[in-house]
Structures are given as C-alpha cells and as structure tokens.
C-alpha cells in the first residue's frame, strides 16, 4: 500500500526517525574512536540535555532568547512586508532601495554588533536590532519579488469593481503575495535564530548564546554540546510553528 493514508503519515515520520538515529549513531561511533573530552558522544550529551532541562538556569536563558527572537521577528515581519511591498509595487522605491539592500545583504549582521553596541549599549536593543535586520532581509526580498509578479489582471479586476489603489494593495496584492511572504518568513526566522546566538555570545547579557559561552569559559564541554543540540530542536520547532499558519493562509496556492 504505497499510497494509503496511513503510510502517508508514517513514512515521513519513519524517515525522520531513521535520519536522526543514523546521525546519532555516527556521532557516537566517531566520539568512541576519538575518545577525547572535546567530543563527547550522544550517550553522554542526550542524558545531560535532559538533566539540564530540569534547571531553572536553562529555562531563564531559553525564555530570554525566545523573547528576544519573538520581538525581533515581529519587527522583521512588519517592516519586511511594508518595505517589500513598497519595493515590489513602486519603481521609484525599488530604484532607491534595491542597491542599498544588495549592499547590506552579504554583510554578516553579527559583525556590526560591536558598532551597534556603541550606539545602543550591550542590552536588548542592540541585539534585537541586529537580529531583526538579519531576519527582515529575506522577508523583504521575497515580498518584493512576489508582489511585483502579481497577475495585473487581478488588480485590474479589483479596480474595475471600484477598489482604490490603496484597497488593491491591501486586499489584492498583499494576499496574493502571502505564499512568498511565508517562504521569506521561514528563511528569516532561521537566519534570525543563528544571528541571535552569535549576538548573545558577543553581548554576554543573557540567553542561550550567553549561557553557551559561560559553559565554554568553565570548560563544561558536555553542557555546550547539550545546548547546541537544544538549539537544533528549537529551530526545528520554530519552523514547524511557522509552517502551520503559513499553510492555513496559503492553502489556496497549493491546491491549484
């Protein structure tokens, strides 16, 4: 029954599990061969992670990180959609802003954190600034590209039914661009998560990145590995979390 509803649910889950178990097995094998305290195996790391999950320290760090990421992502999304639509729908804005974007895209945002910290201090504002600018770029690009390619007959149809240009933007262009916005958001939040850890490592105020460096300073290698594993899981969950509203908002694009 290659296409039964049951196998459609279980097959991906099975592949997921297979990949995870294989990866852990390879890791354990390499760790067993190397026999060094800088490379503990999963048999050491996974139990440690479960142990760490029972500490208040970890949950405080995780809460600080997720709060930071959520605020950053909110600004990244709001700003990214607004700027992306402006670029996609206005040739003037596109001409003005696109060169700046192309210039700023390849710059690692963590590299400008020290400068930003000179402006805003080492606290939340600097870190949120850096995370948000990182996460917003793919959202801007996807939104701009998507909104530019909206079938012009859709806006013509709306205009002929009496919609003003502003209404067309809000009720036609924005929903038509949702699939691209969703794609940009999922890339953006991952890039945000990556730069968040780096920013926290540099700023050393709080959060998972900061805690990671505390363990590094204290030579607690197993804890470092446990936190890295945790970050992977957090990333996975965040992606799933975003996939859910995206699918609800863009199901019409998939069914076509």
């Amino acid at each position: 029954m290659p296409d039964s509803p049951l196998s459609r649910v279980y097959e991906p889950a099975f592949h997921y599990l297979l990949a995870t178990v294989s990866l852990l097995a390879i890791w354990q094998a390499v760790a067993g061969l190397v026999q060094a305290d800088y490379l503990p195996g999963p048999l050491e790391v996974v139990p440690r992670l479960l142990e760490v999950l029972g500490t208040k320290e970890l949950w405080l760090a995780l809460a600080a990180s997720l709060r930071r990421l959520a605020i950053s992502f909110f600004f990244a999304l709001a700003g990214g959609i607004a700027l992306g639509l402006a670029i996609g729908r206005s040739a003037v804005v596109r001409g003005l802003v696109e060169p700046l974007l192309a210039l700023s895209y390849p710059i690692p945002k963590a590299a400008i954190l020290p400068i930003v910290m000179l402006w805003f201090g080492a606290g939340d504002i600097s870190q949120i600034f850096v995370i948000a600018t990182t996460a917003t770029l793919p959202i801007i690009y996807h939104t701009a590209d998507g909104s530019r390619r909206v079938n012009e007959r859709l806006t013509w149809a709306a205009a002929s039914m009496g919609s003003s240009p502003a209404t067309c933007l809000w009720r036609i262009v924005l929903p038509a661009t949702l699939p691209e916005i969703a794609a940009g958001s999922r890339t953006g939040i991952m890039m945000g998560l990556i730069v968040m850890v780096t920013a926290e490592m540099i700023a050393r105020t709080d959060g998972v990145g900061s805690l990671l460096f505390v363990h590094f300073d204290m030579g607690q290698n197993v804890d470092m590995y446990a936190l890295i594993l945790l970050l992977g899981v957090v990333g996975l969950l965040l992606d799933r979390l975003l996939a859910w509203p995206s699918r609800r908002l863009t199901h019409w694009a998939i069914e076509r």
Partner: protein
Amino acid sequence: MNTLSTGNRLAPALSLAGVGKHFPGPANTFVALDDVSLDVAEGEFVSILGPSGCGKSTLLYMIGGFIPVTAGAILAGGAPVHGPGRDRGVVFQDAALFPWLTVRANIAYGLLEGGMSRKEAALAIDEMLSLVHLDGFADFYPGQLSGGMRQRVAIARTLAYDPSILLMDEPFGALDAYTRSVLQDELLRIHDCRRKTVIFVTHSVDEAVYLSDRVVVLDRSPGRVHSDVPIGLPRPRNRQDLLRDQTYQEHVIALGNTMMEMHANA
C-alpha cells in the same frame, strides 16, 4: 462629436473617436492601434474580431481604462474614460478570480465595494450562482474548479454588481470546444434577459457571428478597423437553427475569407 448630437437617436453607450495606441521606441514609434472610431448602442453585442497581434485586447484594456490611450478619446455613457470604473465590468481569458477567496467571496467583492450590506450581498450571490448554474459551489476555491466553472464565476462576479457595459477578453479562448459552446449559449441566454452592452474580443469567426449584433474586424500593423459588419440575425438564437441559417453561413464564410486574406498579407 457628431456622435453626441445625432438628433433623435439615443446617445451611444460607448463611443471611440480616433483612438490610437503608439509605443514610442528608440528608432521609430510602434503603432499598435491607429484611428479606431466606433459607436456602440446600448444593449448592443459587438465582437472585435481580428488576427493575433492586431491590438484587439489592447483596445479592450483601453476601454476598461487599464491602459491609457495615446490618441483620440473614449466616452462611456457620455463621460470620458480616465481609468477603470464600475460602469465597465471585465471578464478576462484567465478568469482572474482571487484564488485566496471562495467563489462566494469573489462574487461578493464587487457588491461590497459598491457599499451593499453583507445580507443583501448574500441574496444577490445566490441569485448569480443559479444564473450561471453553479449552485452548491459557493464555498469552493477557484483552484478547485475547472476552467469552464472558473469562467462562469468570473461572469457572475462581473454581472453581480450590474455594470452597464460588459468587456470580455477572449473569455472562452482557453476552454475546450464543448465547454466553449455551452458557455456561449449561456452568455446568449444571459444577454437576452439582461441586455447589457457587450464588447467581446475573439479570434473565432463562428463565435463572433453566433453571439453578436455586429462584428468589427481589426486589421494588424497597425491595428485599424478593417470592416464593420452588422449581423442582423434575430434573437433569441438557437445554435441548431442558426447553423442551418443562410445569413449565418454567409457571414461565417465572408468573415472567414477576410481573416484568411489578413493572414496571407501578414
């Protein structure tokens, strides 16, 4: 201007005077349409027939107000056209339904934009759905419908808010032969009971003769009015009777020859 002062005759529903579309290029100006003049009476069904590239869709988009004219003027209901308006409803070849909205919400769009209450709109939508024989499909999304059904929704969406002029851009061009003739018959039926002024762009001779009171043939490079043929077949029309009708056959043959000549000269 003579169109507005023709004494006791009614002012035309749509009037094109010397309409042109020129695209200035680096070397020379490309003339897509040149000096198109045309008066369409209220309730008249006029087809614009021509080979591909003759600018017939461009002409329709200019009447719709989606693209500007570069020469001449268009008057709809006596008022100059400067942009899209609710007096001129459009149906595009690709239906151009809003894919994120259900059939119901698509039809509701124009009604709500016109200030109708949701309650009134709901009644009007049900009426439109039965007019185009899509009762029971109100909650489907366009992506779940066949091409023919989508085109029915597009027609319903446009008729719903009652524009006085209907602009149709090869609406059945992408459909299979059977669906096409079914929708042609439905359009005839709707035209018989609603008497809209219709501008219907097509490259099919049979379709133009079958549906229209008048067929305007456009030539290409540049797009100009080649001929303006009154069809003069009575309504309501019936496909079986018409196919045996001599006037119908003569129009199809004559217009077919005209089209062949234009293709040969291209």
